[in-house]
Structures are given as C-alpha cells and as structure tokens.
C-alpha cells in the first residue's frame, strides 16, 4: 500500500519502546500514591522480622540476606497483579496486541516501566534497611547489585504470570502460586550472593549466575508474555 502523504515516516520500534516507557511512567506519576505501595510493603515486611526473630544483632546479621530478599520477592509479587490490570480494563491492551510494531517490544517496555517504578526505589531503601538488620558495611555492594540484577528477572517472569491471570475476575493468590516456584533459583542465588559477601567469601559467582538468569529471562520471557496475553484476550 503506497502511502504518498509526507508524514508516512514509520516510527522505529525503539521510539515506540521509549514512548511506551514514558507513557507508563506518566500514568504512574498521576497515581503516585499507589506507586509507593511496594516500597512501604518492603519496609514493613523487613521491620517485622526483628520483631519476630528477636533484636539480637548477631542473629539478625545472619538472617539479613534472607529477610531482604524474601521481602523484595514478595513486594515484586504484590505489584505484578496490577501490571496489566488497568490496560486490560480500559482496552489499551487490545490496542497493544493489534499494534503494527513488534508487540514483544511494547510489552517489554511495560515491564521495564514497572521495574523502574517498583524495584528501583526498593533497592535504594534496602541500603537503610540493611543498617536496620546490622548488615556489615562491606556487604552493601553485593546486596544492592544482587537486588538490581534479581528484581528485573523477577519482574519479567512474574509478568508472564500476570499476563496469564489478567483476564480473571477472581484472581486472589493464583498469580503468586504460579510464579513463586519459578523464583526459587533467583532467590537462592540472590540471597546467597549477599550471604557470602557478609562472610567475605566469593560473592561474585552467585551474582554472575543471577545475571545469567536475568539474560535468559530477558530473551525468553517477553515471547512467553505475548503468548500469555494473547491467550488471556482470546
């Protein structure tokens, strides 16, 4: 179909990616109060552990990696449910799936925006929570890096679960039930990276393994996500 009008420039997929990310950030900015929920949940969950396990700093230091990572995992899960919810209900998801551009990229942009909004503040706050849990000074780089590498992988895999359950009215904990088993490797390598950096052992290799999982998720998860969304909108 030859289009003669001058403005027939075809927007490149990457501009669509950029536009999608900025659009999602703008939408989130309008609902900023909602955006802080994962952050508050993260802080709340971490502060519950000392209340349960006792304030002894030596003991807390041992638990710190597990506490931080499980809290990060749960707060990522908490937010995933609303990842496609608004787009599904107002019809934007249908426009995305019938878009001329590679849907994989647009969907990846949506997960990226979701990660920026939910995980970055989380990583920033984790530094202060580390102090709360008596994390030794030399362990902070490992903690921040492991969360930075682990949370996008969790967002990507979790997005597939969100895509599968977006069409359901009564979802409840189905999303968590589907996605949590898939988080086991990320949790193991992430928590262990922090653990070994506390005891000043080699914390780089678990981090690299976590990076491998991130790369795998980056390449495969978007395609599974598109398939999931297509089945939900079927």
């Amino acid at each position: 179909m030859v289009r003669t009008s001058a403005s027939a420039r075809k927007p490149s997929p990457w501009t669509v990616f950029r536009v999608s990310v900025t659009r999602d950030l703008a939408v989130a900015w309008r609902h900023l109060h909602e955006g802080t929920h994962p952050l508050l949940f993260f802080i709340l969950t971490v502060s519950l552990f000392p209340l349960a396990a006792g304030p002894d700093p030596v003991f807390l230091r041992q638990l710190a990696p597990g506490i931080l990572w499980i809290a990060a995992l749960l707060s990522t899960l908490l937010v995933l449910d609303s990842l496609f919810r608004t787009e599904y209900e107002d019809g934007t998801l249908e426009q995305i799936l019938t878009s001329a551009h590679p849907v994989v990229l647009i969907v990846l942009a949506k997960v990226a925006a979701h990660w920026i909004l939910s995980a970055l503040p989380l990583v920033a706050v984790s530094v202060f929570l580390g102090m709360m849990l008596n994390l030794p000074a030399h362990a902070y780089p490992a903690m921040v890096l492991s969360l930075l590498v682990g949370t996008p992988a969790m967002s990507l895999i979790g997005a597939i679960g969100a895509g599968l359950t977006v069409g359901l009215r009564r979802r409840g904990l189905l999303l968590a039930l589907i996605v949590m088993p898939l988080y086991v490797p990320i949790l193991i390598f992430g928590a262990h990276a922090v653990q070994s950096s506390i005891v000043q052992a080699n914390w780089v290799s678990p981090l690299l393994l976590l990076g491998a999982i991130l790369v795998l998720s980056l390449t495969l998860a978007p395609f599974a996500l598109v398939a999931a969304l297509k089945t939900s909108l079927h």
Binding site: I160, G161, L174, I178, M180, P185, L209, S232
Partner: protein, 259 residues
C-alpha cells in the same frame, strides 16, 4: 462395564464411521483409549506385583541400611516419573498450543494430576525413608527439595486450569505456563543442587544409591515399567473424561451416551 460402541459398519465405510479414520480425531482416540487403558492397567498391576515380590522378598537386605532401603523401589520410580510426566505434559501442551490440536491439550491436562500424584508419593516415601536413615522426616536434600518445587509447579498449573472456566483458553494458558515451567526445571534443579552443596558441603546426605547388585537392580527396573504402564492407563482414562466432556455436542458422544 458394558461399554456400548456405535454399530460396527457392516457395509462399506458408512457415514457413521467416517470420522473414525483420522487418528487425531477425538472420537477415534476415545475408543482407542477405551481399549488400551484397562490393558495398561492390568500390565501395571502385574509388574507391580512382580516388582514387590522381587523387591521385598528376593532382594537381600543392604549391609549398611538393613531393610529400610527397600523404599527406593517405590521412591526412585516415583521421583523419576514425576519429572518425566512434567516433560510429557509440557511437550504435549506445546504441541496443542502451536498446532491447535484439542487432543494434545486433553493429554496435557490429564498428565498433571498423575504427575502431581507421583511427586506427592516421591515426597512421602522420601520422608519415610529419611526417618530410619537420618533420624528426621524431612532433610533438605537436593533431590527432595527439587521434588517439592516440582510439586508447586504442578499445583500452580492445575490451579490455573481450574481458575479459567473456558476449556480452550485454560488449555492454552496452561500450555504457556507448562512450557515456562519446563524451561525453569533444569535451572531450579541446578540451583537447588548448588545451594545444597554449599550449605551442607561437609555432610554427604545425598540419597546415595546403595551398591546396586543385580538382585536389587531387577526390582527397580520392574517397578520402572510398572509406573510407566500405570501412567499410560491413568492418563488415558482422564483423557477419555476430557474428550467426553468437551465433545458433548457431537454425534459420537450422543451415540456413546445414549447407547
């Protein structure tokens, strides 16, 4: 169980039989499964009994663990089947998703409960074996932990299928989840092994296979055959239910139902 089949065609190929000849057709598979499920069932029972006899009577007690090792004749086949059935389920679901074959979706849906049953058995027998051997019912051994995660994968798959009321949408969504799970299984297995060697590097608590002499290997192989036959029988039975339920509008189901 007098299972009524439509009238055998006396004359040349009559219309009633036309739909039978495509192997993939649900009607054909329904009657094929009807014939073979009981046969596999009987084979499974026969092999189970043979396995039990060789395993519990003929096989000598282990010099180290005494008789408690005899649980492996049920634990190892179950553990192996739980992994094998997940792969069969994921592949069948993938075929259904890509080539839009209703029958392979039905097979995938039928595999899940059988796989979950085997995973549950593997966990229970593993725990019961742990008590006499290591003194506690649950040990965070690499394989038992992987089985536990596998059970969660099965439960997640079945929960998703139960949540989606439309059969077709549910099958396709389940297929996506099964395939994602399939990709993750080796990663989960490796990460749990890695995690296990790190935290319990010192004490080797792997479910070490006792030195296999021939009288112990034979029952194990017989049990493998038994669980495989059982899987086929149970799965085919479930596929018949799925097909009957999904094809209730078609004429061959009316004939089957009204006899």
């Amino acid at each position: 169980m007098a299972m009524r089949k439509p009238a055998q065609p006396t004359t040349s190929r009559s219309r009633a039989w036309r739909w039978f000849h495509r192997f993939g057709s649900p009607a054909y598979f329904y009657f094929f499964a009807g014939r073979w499920a009981p046969r596999f069932g009987h084979l499974a029972v026969a092999f189970f009994l043979a396995g039990l006899y060789f395993g519990l009577v003929v096989a000598p007690p282990d010099y180290q663990m005494g008789d408690s090792y005899r649980i492996i004749f049920i634990h190892v086949p179950s553990a192996w089947m739980s992994m094998f059935i997940y792969v069969v389920m994921a592949v069948s679901a993938g075929i259904g998703l890509v080539w839009r074959i209703k029958l392979s979706h039905a097979v995938a849906r039928s595999c899940a409960p059988v796989g979950a049953a085997f995973t549950f058995c593997a966990l229970v027998t593993g725990a019961l074996w742990g008590k006499p051997t290591w003194g506690t019912y649950w040990i965070w051994d690499a394989r038992l932990t992987s089985e536990l995660v596998l059970l969660f994968l099965y439960v997640g798959y079945m929960a998703l299928l139960a949540a989606l009321d439309d059969w077709k949408t549910g099958s396709r969504a389940g297929a996506v989840l099964a395939l994602v799970g399939l990709v993750n299984i080796p990663i989960i297995h490796y990460s749990v092994e890695w995690w296990n060697t790190l935290h319990q590097g010192a004490t080797i608590t792997k479910l070490g296979r006792p030195s296999i002499d021939i009288r112990m290997l034979v029952p194990l192989l017989i049990m493998f055959a038994a669980v495989n036959f059982y899987f086929l029988a149970a799965m085919l039975n479930r596929v018949r239910c799925e097909l009957l339920d999904q094809e209730r509008r078609t004429r061959w189901v009316q004939e089957v139902v009204n006899g």
